[in-house]
Amino acid sequence: MIVTATGLTRSYGTGEATVRALAGVDVEFPAGAFTAIMGPSGSGKSTLMHLLAGLDRPTSGSVVLAGTELADLGDKELTTLRRDKVGFIFQSFNLLPVLSAEENILLPLSIAGREADQPWVDRLIDAIGLRDRLGHRPAELSGGQQQRVAVARALASRPAVVFADEPTGNLDSKTSTEVMELLRRCVDEFGQTIVMVTHDPRAAAYADRLVQLEDGRIVRDGAPGAAAGTSRSDAVTHGV
């Protein structure tokens, strides 16, 4: 298992104003799998991802990522763990506007002070198909291109797991497809483990497995095709 969560709860606030975002979640993510997490707004899917990625700390329960219990780590160790073991893809791309596409891709390696594994980086660049635009800055790239750069950045340091937070949320359907196909390839060709939070059932359809959350609990866990259209939340999602 790359990531294992056991008895995960997360509450915000105290006393009467307490909100339980996660009410006891047990979930495992095996290596090389592409998992989509879905659920309506407030279902706790983002909270779950933040806890799995070591961006937030659970109220109770445990997360083991690549063999490390996150609860034992201080801020410094968590930062190092995120740097070396985790890749991130954000809804709003979050590329640094002052760096070129290539520099953005290499950013995690630069931060770690590591030499780039050039053949690997070359494969990534070919995979995202932006070799001719490497010198451009994000402002000169389309949204889809920016998100493809972000995908390459997430994979650059060969992380144990990539977390993607609504990766198609800011994209139109054509570029969404491009990005999802790219993510699928990363899983198929490179054996990358990906955990993706999404609202978009079409995006979720690219995953191997769909975990559905409602009110802070997992209500369904299985193949994505079976789930579509059967859940109450799905109607909500389509409605948006």
């Binding site: 930062t79 763990l81 985790v86 931060i111 770690a112």
Partner: protein
């Protein structure tokens, strides 16, 4: 709309505090200067009022001829004048007194006082109505071996009644027993001066004024009209004395001090103006950034129906609140700074009196007025930009403000402004204008140049940042790279931030180069002129000293000759002019200059003055001396003086003694064969009796001069510190705003594994690069200023202190590091999740 403006301010407290502080610091020095000088003024007013309260009429030597405003070293009044007054009807009591500046007092260890303040040897009055002194402890001196000193001096130097106190003035050093400690108007100190009272005959003897007086005070008999008696006295006395009522004399003295203070006040206000100017940059920058960040907010207001004037008023309203807030804080800080200034001057040996802090209404008006006006002026352009946000921007994300006409014109405007600035400075410096319009032109020109370069600098930020940033990037990798890129992201913002620091750095550079050049010029002048082996001077470095010391040295075995130089003043065609007296026999042998033989009625004229006035050899120069004598002197020669020792006019010392009433020496050149006499022997000859005088070899003389230049330089540095601090607040402010703007970026960086330390580094290096851009521009501008200004000084040997300038560049970087502390901490402590969700 008013509420919107207030909300806008309160929502961002850090920024509000930092910007208000920029205003406040500018205002601080203004209010501090006023409080400081008003307080001194009031103290002297109090002292002089007390001193002349009991005197109906005061007779003093005429001070029309004195070049300096101070009337302290005027030739004394002849004793016969007193006799004549006694015979005038209506005079009840009359008393002559001594109040002589130029003595030296010794500490308990036998060293001259370290404090630079004036030292007066005075006589104690018999009539208690005169002089204004009272005895806080003990009593007045009654015998020739007694002295009363002011209580402040006694406390500072650790003397008490019964102790021995040594004085050296015209007469050799002598010890007295302290009989009492004085106060004036209930204050321990006589305006920061040290005053030693002796009996009248002893004071006359010590100061070499036997049978003469510095001042004559009188009381008129009951029932007599002081003005009428005063008029009668005026009619009976010669022209070289002034006759005034006690009140008029007090007002005159206070006026003299006010004039002196006016100079100090102008100087300090100039520094205050610079701080405020720098503060304006910061206000401008803060408003520009926040208006850009709040573009959507303004657009929303416009969509909801707010008019452009309403938006303008909302932003200007923020400016007013900020200006008032900052000015009030500045006013308050100024009162603290006034004491700080006093401490600063005291640290440099100038103790100034303070009897209670004086806050004039004028100080309040000016501080508030200037603070608010400057703030409004600085936020006008950003406010106008805010009005140009189109309402539709509310619906779009990441709107950029439309480029304004003014921003397109900025570059040509900057060039024109810089050109005009340099031109104005050049005209001011080289066109030979009167002093005050010239200074004004230079000041305005410098201001315009600063502004012009600041406007130009957005174009310079990129190139400079890439040069300065390279080594940082090479050393620190990606954090350095991000820092460098961040500085050039908003070149205008970085430019203004850097320009604020640039001004301080430019002035520090200018002062540094000027001082270094001054020192090497002095060195060169001493090398060019001095042929003697040693010089004698007052240990304070500038005052004249007892000629007895010179005679003592002249009599020493092995000393071949001594040449005394005396500096006096005269009035030529209504203008004050400096006159040097020289020993006609010894001087040419000890000083390299082609001085013509000078007789009793001849004068030598400096090359510059002769050229300026069109004077030729054989002409006659008519002048009036301090003793009100009119002299007509024949020009015996025009002197080229590479050593810069001699004044516009040079006469023989015999003429100085006879017609100018000056018997003290200002500088003495001593010639001896190194085998036969030594400097140590000279020291020994004068040490016991004339501790006031020190002997220096040529090298020591240079070091001494350099020390004086350095002392002045440190004072200038201290005053410029405030400007640099304001600029540092500017860096803090810009960084805090940039950090806010880049919150999501920082969140992403943290999420993908950037450590807090790395985040701090990015911010810190950005600050360093910004500060060093200011440093580079400032050093270059300072160099330009120094080159321009020193061109106007003849034979100025420009010595550029490269090491110091490099140090200054590094210091600018250090200032950046310091300024980055708070923003870096903020950036590194951002909550990653909140930062990622930030819009």
């Amino acid at each position: 709309m008013r509420r919107v403006a207030l909300r806008g301010l309160l929502a961002r407290k850090t920024r509000l505090a930092l910007t208000a502080l920029a205003v406040a610091l500018g205002v601080t020095l203004i209010s501090g200067t006023y409080v400081f000088t008003d307080t001194i003024d009031a103290s002297f007013d109090r002292i002089f009022s007390a001193a002349y309260k009991g005197a109906d009429v005061v007779i003093t030597p005429n001070d029309d001829v004195a070049l300096s405003e101070s009337s302290d070293d005027l030739p004394p009044i002849e004793g016969a004048v007193l006799d004549r007054i006694e015979r005038i009807e209506g005079v009840e009591n009359v008393e002559g007194s001594i109040f002589d500046q130029g003595g030296t007092f010794l500490t308990k260890k036998g060293e001259p006082f370290a404090a630079q303040g004036p030292k007066f040897v005075a006589s104690a009055f018999d009539d208690e109505r005169f002089g204004g002194f009272s005895y806080a402890e003990g009593r007045r001196p009654r015998t020739p071996d007694e002295v009363a000193i002011d209580k402040a001096t006694a406390r500072r130097e650790g003397f008490s009644v019964g102790d021995s106190f040594e004085i050296q003035a015209e007469a050799p050093k002598q010890a007295y027993t302290i009989s009492g400690l004085t106060q004036v108007a209930g204050v321990d100190s006589y305006g920061g001066a040290a005053v030693a009272q002796l009996t009248l005959p002893e004071a006359q003897r010590v100061t070499g004024k036997q049978g003469k007086y510095d001042e004559i005070d009188l009381a008129v008999a009951k029932g007599q009209d002081a003005d009428a008696v005063s008029a009668a006295i005026r009619a009976a006395l010669p022209k070289n004395v002034d006759v005034r009522t006690g009140a008029a004399e007090a007002a005159d003295r206070t006026g003299e001090i006010s004039d002196d203070l006016g100079f100090l006040q102008t100087g300090l206000l100039a520094f205050a103006g610079v701080s405020l100017f720098v503060g304006a940059f910061i206000i401008f920058n803060t408003f520009s950034i926040t208006v850009a960040q709040r573009a959507r907010e303004f657009a929303l207001l416009r969509t909801l129906g707010a008019s452009r004037p309403q938006v303008l008023r909302a932003v200007l309203g923020e400016g007013v609140v900020l200006g008032v807030l900052g000015s009030v804080v500045g006013l308050g800080l100024g009162i603290l700074v006034a004491s700080g200034l006093r401490a600063l001057f005291k640290a440099f040996g100038f103790e100034l009196p303070s009897t209670g802090t004086v806050l004039e209404p004028r100080t309040v008006y000016v501080s508030l007025g200037v603070g608010v006006v400057v703030t409004l002026a600085a936020c006008l352009t950003p406010a106008l930009r805010a009005t140009r946000v189109p309402p539709v921007a509310a619906l779009r994300e990441g709107v950029a403000l439309p480029a304004s006409r003014s921003s397109r014109l900025a570059f040509p405007l900057a060039l024109v402004l810089t050109g005009l600035g340099v031109a104005a400075m050049s005209v001011g410096l080289f066109a030979g204008l009167e002093e005050s319009p010239a200074l004004l032109l230079v000041g305005l020109g410098a201001g315009a140049t600063f502004l012009g370069v600041a406007l130009l600098s957005p174009r310079l930020v990129g190139p400079i940042a890439s040069v300065i940033g390279r080594p940082i990037e090479a050393l620190f990798g990606v954090t350095g790279r991000l820092a460098r890129e961040n500085t050039v992201r908003q070149p205008g913002r970085t430019a203004v931030t850097a320009a604020a620091l640039m001004i301080g750095v430019a002035l520090v550079t200018f002062a540094t180069i000027f001082a270094a050049g001054g020192k090497s010029t002095i060195d060169a002048a001493i090398d060019a002129g001095l042929r003697g082996q040693a010089v004698l001077q007052n240990q304070d470095g500038f005052s004249p000293f007892a000629a007895g010391a010179t005679r003592r040295v002249a009599e020493l075995d092995g000393v071949e000759r001594v040449a005394a130089v005396r500096f006096v003043q005269a009035r030529v065609e209504g203008e004050g002019l400096a006159v040097s007296g020289v020993d006609t026999e010894a001087f040419p042998a000890l000083y390299r200059t082609a001085l013509p033989p000078l007789g009793d009625d001849s004068v030598a004229v400096s090359e510059d003055y002769a050229e300026q006035q069109g004077i030729r050899v054989g002409d006659t120069v008519a002048l009036t001396t301090a003793t009100a004598k009119r002299l007509e002197l024949r020009v015996a020669g025009i002197v080229e003086d590479k050593g810069r020792l001699l004044d516009e006019l040079t006469v023989s010392n015999d003429v100085v003694a006879r017609d100018f009433g000056q018997r003290k020496d200002s500088l003495v050149i001593v010639g001896y064969s190194p085998g036969k006499a030594t400097k140590a022997a000279i020291d020994n000859a004068i040490k016991a009796d004339f501790p006031q005088v020190e002997a220096l070899t040529a090298e020591e003389f240079k070091d001494d001069a350099a020390g004086q230049v350095d002392q002045l330089l440190v004072l200038v540095y201290a005053l410029l510190t405030l400007t640099v601090i304001v600029a540092m607040f500017g860096i803090v402010n810009t960084l805090v705003l940039s950090v806010t703007e880049r919150t999501r970026e920082l969140g992403m960086l943290r999420a993908i594994g950037t450590s807090r330390r790395q985040i701090r580094r990015v911010i810190r290096y950005e600050a360093v690069i910004t500060a060093q851009i200011g440093g580079v521009l400032g050093i270059l501008l300072g160099l330009l200023l120094a080159l321009l200004v020193t061109r106007t000084i003849d034979d100025f040997s420009l010595a550029i202190p490269y090491g110091l300038l490099l140090g200054l560049f590094l210091a600018a970087g250090a200032a950046g590091i310091l300024a980055a502390v708070l923003p870096a901490r903020r950036a590194s402590r951002l909550n990653v999740l909140e930062a990622l969700a930030y819009e």
